[in-house]
Symmetry: C3
Subunit: 345 residues, 3 copies
């Protein structure tokens, strides 16, 4: 556990106003269910303030107006505030730089910053550059001529193939493969698909997070690029020559097809897919499970397969279960109308 600080210090850190004793000492962070005495917790919904009576936390971050028996730090965005406070506590525990494990294997001509740390059984190719405080866990395999910027963290069994370039503070979770060959074949007209050479690379910009067991394919030529601040969940497929903008969110098991592009701030819900050669504009949102086959304009919200405007899709989807009833009604109308026609003629 970290050394304690006064609640006032934490409130100042997040621009919060304290209702209650500012001098109590806080030692860590917990959620409502798991917080222990001496910890600070947070309340997501003011309507659930009554549960504060049961927490063992010593103080709480909440929006203005929440009343409690324990001191409250009032802020606009409790989750943002508690995230910053939590990070402060995590950072305040000194981590011994474990250095480079004795069994690290490294090719020729690498440039390794002195603050790099590796767990046992890391394998690094030739011509690799590792920045300050790069941390590579066990089983990581780094290919030739890879560049990894300051403060990157590659978790166990990550594979980063040749020529990949990572910016700063990139986090890649276990099992993910960066720089795999793209799915590019040409038919020879005689029954065989011929593999096209993939000689491009992958560039991942600063502050990108990539989850576990993802794949990011290298470009056929040129670069597959993931823009600054983009966050990718687990089991996601990014195909060759894809260009992803900044601060994009891609939830688990999505796919972005070859040569497609996502603008800045795009959000893809889980299990969504964008086909090959499709442009998705800035700020567009693609609902979970959707299949996008054509251009999505900036700011559009789309759903379904093929993806259509989300509002239209919602209405059509809620009409969908009535379809069999509609068929019956049309059949009835047809009979009635036919009878009417006969009567009148």
């Amino acid at each position: 556990m970290s050394k304690g600080v006064s609640l006032q210090v934490l409130a100042d850190m997040v621009g919060g106003v304290i209702c209650g004793d500012p001098e109590i000492t806080v030692f860590g962070v917990g959620d409502l269910a798991t917080a222990k005495e001496g910890e600070i917790t947070f309340l997501l919904k003011p309507s659930e303030a009554h549960v504060l009576r049961e927490t063992r936390a010593s103080c709480v971050v909440a929006v203005e107006g929440v009343e409690a028996d324990i001191p409250v730090v009032q802020v606009e965005n409790p989750v943002l505030a508690i995230t910053r406070i939590h990070q402060f506590f995590l950072d305040s525990v000194p981590v011994a730089n474990q250095g480079i494990a004795a069994d690290t294997l490294m090719g020729k001509g690498c440039t390794i910053a002195s603050s790099v740390a590796t767990c046992p059984r890391v394998t690094i190719g030739s011509g690799v550059i590792l920045g300050e405080r790069v941390f590579l866990e066990s089983g990581v395999v780094v290919g030739d001529d890879v560049v990894i910027g300051d403060d990157c963290h590659l978790m166990a069994n990550v594979v980063v193939r040749a020529k990949t370039i990572l910016g700063q503070r990139v986090i890649i979770q276990s099992g993910t493969v960066i720089g795999s060959d793209g799915y590019g074949y040409v038919y020879d007209g005689k029954g065989s698909h011929i593999k096209r050479p993939h000689v491009g690379n992958v560039v991942i910009e600063d502050d990108v997070d990539i989850g576990a067991n993802c794949c990011v394919d290298r470009a056929t030529f040129g670069t597959t690029r993931i823009g600054r601040g983009t966050k990718i969940d687990n089991l996601v497929q990014i195909a060759h020559n894809v260009i992803i903008g900044q601060s994009v969110l891609i939830v688990a098991q999505c796919a972005v097809g070859g040569s497609s592009s996502l603008g800045n701030g795009v959000v893809m819900g889980g299990h969504a897919a964008v086909a090959d050669h499709v442009n998705v504009g800035d700020g567009a949102m693609i609902a979970a499970k959707s299949g996008v086959r054509g251009r999505v304009k900036a700011g559009d919200v789309v759903s379904g397969t093929p993806a259509i405007a989300h509002k239209t899709w919602l209405r059509a989807s809620s009409a969908f279960p009535k379809l069999p009833q509609l068929v019956k009604e049309i059949r009835r109308l047809e009979k009635v109308v036919a009878a009417l026609e006969e009567k009148i003629s």
Copy 2:
């Protein structure tokens, strides 16, 4: 090959009745196509009893009423019976305890049962507890403070991150990552998504199987939990803070979103997804490819995206291809009705 046993021994093991010679000796198990002489096979469908004429097996497990030229062990559930017989033969081959490979790396303060076995190139953190007969294959990486119960089997290149707790007889197949950080971010209002610390863990109860290349994220706080006897296929995503009940079946490439819960006995077909913060009741079934966005009550069977009652979905889906024709019919009706109106007025 194992030592043979008499058919009577096998029949007794599964509560079966023998039609034919109970004294023949059986040496192993095969399916109809692959069984060799001296092996026992099984028949799934009584209607296919004629194929028994072509098998080389020496005897067969089947339901009552099946006739064959070879001895038949009559049981209620042939697949269950043959599974037990097969397991008996597999267990009867003595496995030499290979012990802990000389190159196993281990941190400080671990508690390792004497019957643990590891393949070469296993990496274990500090404070790890391994129960009796735990078997870790090559490339497995076990984080700090992990607890692995008796008879667990982690296949090659599995990653189990810090603080994970596995019960007994848990099987995790290759490439799966347990305890990855969840996909939890908070927007800072200035264009950046801030990663929330994930300080919870994963608890996997007894007799859970997890397939290859899956991801089970640790909780933000607290625990992501997979209940006793649950069986998970390959490439499945279990997000942070998910609670999965007992004896749940989750087929390949499903996703369960953050903080969602699945009750006991839930079944998810392949490629299905449950959104965040959704509760799926005991015994509910989610059809393959479905996208569940709201609560599913116990025992319900749902399909589609958004998921609706399976029966309704079946009827609506079978009406769906007629939609263009319905449009035409409505257009025709409108004309006819307009003409009628004119005539009458």
Copy 3:
């Protein structure tokens, strides 16, 4: 960079006709955007011939009729031609056979061709056979009794489990698991699912490519088979006892369910799934995102969940957004018709 060759040599290699100087020397291949002086590029669409003015390439492969300031090699299929030329240049760079890394671990009774190469940290079981020029990268784990044919390439952290048989020139990308246990359970009638033993294997024929982080399950009994020349993208699931034909294309995140079969030349778009025990005929196409639950005949093109004829699906999908409007129109018709009935009666 490779040694240069004359453009005439390249044109002859691909049966092309040169417009321009056949004697210029070419040193490599690039696409329009990345090609450097001395390199040959290619034009996909004749309508975009104007961009040739901006390339730095020294010559170009294109279809007949394309005019340019640089020499043009006219061919029928520019992508096929440039792929062959590119492969020629890549092959012309001599690769030093690095041999078997000193730390390679190998069980008993292996048969290893003299031209096999391994990176550090490869683990090989007992009874393994490796053909000529097999190349295994770091972190690869090969199980007992595996056979790997000539010229196979297994990338970092691939797992090939026991008894798998790979033909020649098979490429398996990082993180993929071949021979995992299938998802086969039998319910014991008392609340538990019992794991069925999986004692079959996987056979992968010549010239198959499998992407990153895929899973191919071994058969329960018998063989899971992937036919010659089939190409599989990333994160694909092939279940136990599946039989896949020749020259099949399976795009990212598809699944083929247990005991299903795909005929020769089948194409599955991304995120598509075929249920268990389904037969898909030769040359059938399954659109991206589709869910196939029943037989698909040879040559059929299907879409949607449940999958129907693609043309029908396209028409129905384009009518789908109009569904709420159709409901309104039917309601209006009902009123009008009721009023007419009243008037007439």
